[in-house]
Symmetry: none
Subunit: 211 residues, 4 copies
């Protein structure tokens, strides 16, 4: 949806603009975010923003998808092997994932706000899509677990999904918060803390769901 003018820009400039936008939207919300500030921070003329996007809303929406793309790359729910145990998923590749999160506190904060519904209807579409993708994957995990006999089958999939989501979202949120809070290089200690959190989470998930 950006105008062709934007797409023709070199990558560096495009990213500068979007990051400036995300920073402003994240800091002040959609309504109070000022195009002028975004332009300034992107070192671009105010009018140029309007050569790139129809209006503030479109700039915002594009920033959202841009951030969510990054976010999904990190979460990466598509890749996990089908044969991977339901619970092991969370325990693999954490160092890389967490380092990505630490590197991009701004995107993490923005994505978190989007996921939490802070932008209301504006991001409804993007959000629904994101949720649909996650849910689909999670339901498959649950169904698999039931089939292999590792997950209790006295409860509906939808109930187990709620449980699964509730637990993982909460722990994810805490981990995101830690990513923002940790400064400098990722230390072993920090990583251990995160892995410990995930291990506990998996333990609880497992015990709650297993038959």
């Amino acid at each position: 949806m950006p105008k062709r003018t934007f797409n023709r820009l070199d990558e560096e400039k495009k990213e500068r603009v979007i990051r400036a936008a995300i920073e402003e939207f994240q800091a002040h919300g959609f309504e109070k975010a000022k195009i002028e500030i975004i332009a300034q921070n992107a070192e671009v003329a105010k009018g140029s923003i309007y050569q790139y996007f129809d209006d503030k809303k479109e700039l915002f929406l594009y920033s959202v998808t841009w951030a969510l793309n990054y976010f999904m790359m990190v979460i990466d729910r598509q890749t996990p092997l089908k044969e991977m145990d339901v619970y092991d998923y969370f325990l693999s590749g954490n160092r890389e994932r967490f380092e990505l999160l630490k590197k991009e506190p701004l995107l993490v904060a923005f994505s978190t706000d989007i996921a939490s519904g802070k932008y209301g209807n504006l991001t409804k579409e993007a959000n629904d899509e994101l949720n649909r993708i996650g849910e689909e994957y999670e339901l498959k995990l649950i169904a698999n677990g039931k089939k292999r006999g590792t997950i209790r089958n006295d409860l509906d999939d939808s109930i187990l999904l709620l449980f699964f989501q509730g637990v993982t979202e909460k722990f994810t949120a805490v981990i995101m918060a830690k990513a923002k809070e940790f400064e400098g290089e990722l230390t072993e200690e920090q990583l251990n803390e995160v892995e410990s959190l995930l291990k506990s989470m998996v333990t609880l998930l497992k015990q709650g769901m297993e038959r």
Copy 2:
């Protein structure tokens, strides 16, 4: 924090004003909510709003505490007997609670938005307070459970708290959504659906946490 003029108003008018405010804030968010519309819907002059409150923000903040008071009355984390079993808490008094939720979809929606952080820093204080109260209560429940040997003690209280919050918040959100969606008188069927949800939740909580 409202001005003395507001407090002198008769209850009916006060409520009319606050409900009009909540409706507008809930529908359009803080920034886009218009004082003019609030005044109109409350059948009060625009200027009067400023006789009652210093500014838009104060009106909003007061509306928040007003709604949260109602909400807390419903959730009612203060009352449960200390001796009540951790899990039984959720299974008692549901009919009354759910009926209250059904009766006030607006307040439910508003409170939900506040709790979800939709209003950002504006409600930070109120939110933190609310969270602190809930957390304190929940930690006590966990400590109690551990003492009585009903809750596993291989995990930190803080970890168990995350688990507990994650699960209960998710199920609560679903129940809130159902409250909004159910129309007319509360039917047995509807109540059963809610109770079934809660029972499943408690089962999962129990199995996950128990030793």
Copy 3:
């Protein structure tokens, strides 16, 4: 179509606003007319204009109907007696009419521009209505003339209407121009000039149309 706020204003202020608007629109056209200038000239705050009218266009449209009302009062095609001879209509009450025109050069100029189609589609509606009214009246005059045998009946009414309109519009335009150009009190000489014009016009109309 103005907002209720405008209607509640005292007449003097309403007129001040509309005249300021007409002056600006007439001088610079719709696009280049600046709300700020209108407000200044009406000695009113810029924002107030927007309390009175939804937007620039509405202010313009209201100005148009306001001016046309005045104009129609002057032209006054409704009153002439049914029995009055077709041609005599133009020769009566000229002093009063012309004095009105002289008193309001701004309104005359504005109305002339509207009638000439200078504002394009913006005034299409108002214009069509005005033309419809005039035409209806003129067709009646022609039909009457034919019935009484004073007008040739070898030509269609529509053709005679074109002729009638062409001649009267041209002479009217010249008279309007004179109204703008004449300064100070209306002199006998000026009036004579106008009446002479009208007499010539009637002569030509008569001779062209009569059987």
Copy 4:
């Protein structure tokens, strides 16, 4: 007044640019016409327009003279023989003239708007010139008629001119409108309609003016 760069262009491109300009000016008026759209429709870069003309106004003015040239070629008030009877002028060469009008509805519309003063002061100069030329010619016709005794001499030339202009302009406008409205090849029927109009006009002119 266009820059030398424009004159060096091949005829086809020049015409493409001017026609695109006329289309846009005619459709939206001078102020709202966008250079960008003109460039697009002319399949030329926006910047190129500024290689051809100093600014928007110059492009407009050039478009005006370009259109008026075409228009005058059609109206062709220069050619009629001095000895041709005043009224016969309108009755000759109509097929060719009308076909030209039908072929170029855009130019007709644009020229009509110019003549009607829709562009205000912008075209004042061009307009005045056009009127001066027409008027000069018409006055000569009148003077001739008076000399030969075919036109009444109890009225001033200037009065007769008004009459003549009023009638001919009105009928011309109607014919222009028909040109726009008629689609496809020029049919005999359409031509008859136009000639009938002109004949009626001449009849009325004659009867009104003759002695």
